[in-house]
Amino acid sequence: MANVKYISASRVYAKDTPPAVDALDLDINDGEFMVLVGPSGSGKTTALRMLAGLEPLDGGRVEIGGRDVTFVPPKDRDIAMVFQNYALYPQKTVAENMGFALKMQRVPRADRDRRVREAARLLDLDDQLLDRKPKQLSGGQRQRVAMGRAIVREPQVFLMDEPLSNLDAKLRVQTRSQIAELQRRLGVTTVYVTHDQVEAMTMGNRVAVLTGGHLQQCATPRELYDNPVNQFVAGFIGSPAMNLQAVPLAEGGARLAGGMLPLPAAVRTAALKARLSELVIGIRPEHLHLTNGSPDADGPQQPRATDGSWELSGEVMLVEELGADALLHVRLADGGDPVVARAEGRKPPAPGQRVTFRVSPDDVFAFHPETGARLAG
């Protein structure tokens, strides 16, 4: 068991290109499940490989359990890695695959067998599978063997590089909870890389969001969702994504859908200080509450402040039925990008219907249009 520290760790693949990972500072606590998430090219896999020792550092340090491992070869870092395509040795049996690292450490045969069997039991791998070759296994079984190979080593840190991306959707959800549960049981510090924000949110104790080689925010899933520090995190975390729209600033608020959206005083002050003429506002789909009252038939709908919340209306373009709920793609009155709203699944409005949403000002996020930074609300 150990904590992991990145101290302004950088990796530059080629001269004259921006760093793949740029001065990453990240503290991972002992026993924590830390997820690195980001779009492709965000540097999340590179960061993991730097920790594994598969990628040299061009600056900064990496520490495991207080020990500087920046120049320590991979095998001496006391880590185990699960690869995206599992990287099982095709010519070795499952048992040999799982026991290979122990064999390299000259662990006696009997001991090795015992530990392989224990790991297999932990992962619900039948004993008869142990003598098979990886080719004879299903995708899910291969994934578990890859996990087993990591568990057998009893390392200080588990590194997982998108270990679920080769599984089908159903198995992925199932394995997702199994891995998270197993990690809590073993209590081994785990760094998990994924591009899937649902995986990140459901599995991680904390989630580090990266893009363009920069760490954007590292926080608990709840905190990331409720309090994104910038527009990127706000748009990346949450499914369907937050509705983001650039709107011009006006006296007392922002113009949206032909009306005036009241902004909290703090946001107005921040915008004024930054001399902005417009800003980006974000509203999560579930915060667009469908009002029951049908809108007035004539005239463009005005977002109005009523009992603190305000309303905005538009026309339904598309309805995506998800069963429990439905996603409405709605074009607002001013004809900007359509917004997505989450509605109850039972009786969603039909395409072409005009709808009105009620939004609470507390649910509106505001971002700087150039830097993307959150304007404090």
């Binding site: 095998k75 390299m104 190979r149």
Partner: protein
């Protein structure tokens, strides 16, 4: 309804005629290659008197007399060929595996130059090198020695083997090698325990090609050996007498000399296909 059906008819006919056309070409080429071999085998079973007649005789009493003659004199040549071929092939693999590793998995500095240096040695006509080779062999007292042939055949096949094995090693998924490194495997264990088992079909096809090339080599053997290291191709030449009829005898000798190559080629055919289509590792 009827229009598409009508159109389908001529199209089918065209596809069929194209297929037949290619088939005919393939058979003609195939037979053109095979006929001389067949003629050689048939002639080997003829008595010398029936071998060189015009028009050629197709009806004759087959005899094994020429084969008896061939087998009686072949012994030492066969031994030399086996030793030179097997010895050089083993040496080639022992040298090519680490060389290919250093040019592919963890490329050394200037690996590209190294790679092209190896192949450039094959561009020099061997005739241009035979003079110096002869002088060197003379001074090292290696003329007419089997060791000389082993070394030269190794040098002859090494570039090709390095290029082939390198291409197989490049096919090994890098994640597998990284897993091995994380598991604590050193270089030797990484090559022996992870890479070689995966590329073994490729190694077999490489070895078979080396065997065929070494077995058939004549020029070096002819110029640098006399009796102590003379190989099977030398035996073929020596079985041509100065005077008299010899076609049947030569055919029998050539047939015997081809048999190992044909067997090896037949084995190689399968593993070559497997070896050269190694993308299916995953």
């Amino acid at each position: 309804m009827s229009a598409p059906a009508l159109r389908r008819g001529p199209r089918r006919l065209r596809e069929l005629s194209v297929r037949v056309g290619w088939g005919v070409i393939a058979w003609v080429v195939g037979i053109a290659f095979f006929l001389p071999v067949l003629w050689m085998v048939i002639t080997a079973f003829k008595p010398e008197s029936a071998a060189e007649t015009w028009p050629p005789k197709f009806i004759f009493t087959p005899t094994l007399s020429e084969f008896h003659l061939v087998f009686s004199g072949m012994g030492p040549f066969l031994t030399h060929s086996v030793v030179a071929t097997v010895g050089s092939t083993i040496l080639v693999l022992l040298l090519a595996i680490p060389a290919a590793y250093a040019l592919s998995v963890y490329p050394v500095k200037h690996w590209r130059d190294g790679l092209f240096f190896f192949i450039s040695t094959k561009m020099l006509p061997i005739v241009a090198a035979i003079g110096p080779l002869y002088v060197i062999a003379l001074h090292l007292h290696l003329l007419d020695s089997i060791w000389l042939l082993i070394v030269l055949y190794t040098a002859m096949n090494l570039p090709l083997a390095i290029w082939m094995i390198r291409s197989f090693m490049l096919e090994v998924p890098s994640e597998l090698l990284e897993a091995a490194r994380l598991d604590g495997a050193g270089r030797i264990r990484e090559i022996g325990g992870v890479i070689l088992p995966i590329i073994s079909p490729g190694l077999v096809s490489t070895a078979l090609i080396c065997v065929i090339f070494a077995w058939n080599e004549l020029f070096l053997a002819l110029n640098l050996t006399v009796t102590n290291a003379a190989t099977m191709p030398m035996f073929l030449i020596s079985s041509v007498p100065q005077e008299g009829l010899y076609i049947a005898h030569l055919s029998a000798a050539a047939t015997v000399a081809s048999v190992p190559v044909i067997i090896v080629g037949w084995i190689a055919q399968r593993s070559l296909v497997r070896g050269l289509s190694m993308g299916a590792i995953k």
